[in-house]
Symmetry: C2
Subunit: 161 residues, 2 copies
DNA sequence: ACGCTAATGCAATATTATAACATTATATTC
DNA sequence: GAATATAATGTTATAATATTGCATTAGCGT
């Protein structure tokens, strides 16, 4: 995975996310409507989790009439249901999914300084989760991990303060 | 760890939680006030995460005048700060901590059927988290894991439906 | 065009959480 | 014990997040 904090071609992230979304919707015979696209693009504007009402503000800029909250929440539900975004519940915010379609798993490192959320490869943590659940005969549906701390970039920057 | 779903002496859980809390507060020269105790007891009434407003309802029963939300939230903040409870952010709810004082880590298996939250020994998962964070040179402050699924008890029960 | 379904619009409201300031209780010092 | 400082709680209002219920519109197959 590339390091989000260093320079990267973010337009590429956005393009890829849009492409994946369109492809996934076509495969599943779902409609990638304008609102859903706008919401996804807004979320992918950065690697920082975005709140529903912040998304609403963005939609308001582009629409003639200001949309109501359900408009945003319905689009978010659609994107969540199809594994195109993740909800970071400790922040009440949403962030793009790196591997769309693989719903119900989201493991993130969240920087408390720059707010960037780095998605981890599920395989790094899931075996441990699965083993721990297995010990309790617990059947896992979804597992979300939210690690808060300082990303490499911000740690480095703070050394030079 | 005992299995919460089977019969267990829950009064023992409550007593132990209260005892630990008093001890910890004494050690740290903190005040374990009546409100804080009431909130902790309400949370420990079960192993199910409880919402702030549900706690408020409980306090209302015992008080002459109905307390306002900040009363509850301040007590919750105190208990969180001192590692006596955990916040389950995916549920906006609070649950007792098995090992008070070790703040900032909460790894839970949450049953979608009976709502019981089983706290995992941090050592089961933390090494994997630490390794994954290390790969990204990310410095971890807190790590919360919320696994949703079916506990052994409910899986068993459902086989007999 | 007709009827069906999914998507969106819209108004109201529910739920969760905090800000700001007043008051009371507790502890400490003199 | 009175004076003072600090922490805790009371109180009012409001912010922030999310949902319900119903009306309307858009797209699709016939």
């Amino acid at each position: 995975m590339h390091n989000i904090n260093t320079q990267h071609d973010h337009q590429h992230c956005i393009d890829e996310a849009l492409h994946s979304a369109r492809e996934l919707c076509q495969q599943r015979q779902l409609k990638f409507t304008k609102i859903r696209e706008q919401v996804l693009v807004t979320i992918w504007a950065s690697h920082k989790p975005v709140g529903a009402y912040a998304i609403l503000e963005e939609l308001a800029k582009e629409a003639l009439r200001r949309p109501a909250p359900p408009t945003v929440y319905r689009a978010l539900d659609f994107l969540l249901d199809n594994g195109l975004i993740h909800r970071i519940s400790s922040l009440n915010a949403f962030v793009g999914c790196n591997e769309p379609g693989h719903t119900h798993q989201g493991h993130f490192l969240i920087c408390r300084h720059c707010q960037v959320a780095i998605e981890l490869d599920t395989q790094l943590i899931y075996p441990a989760i699965s083993a721990a659940a297995g010990q309790q005969s617990f059947v896992v549906d979804t597992a979300s991990l939210e690690v808060v701390g300082s990303c490499a970039h911000c740690v480095e920057a703070r050394h030079h303060v």
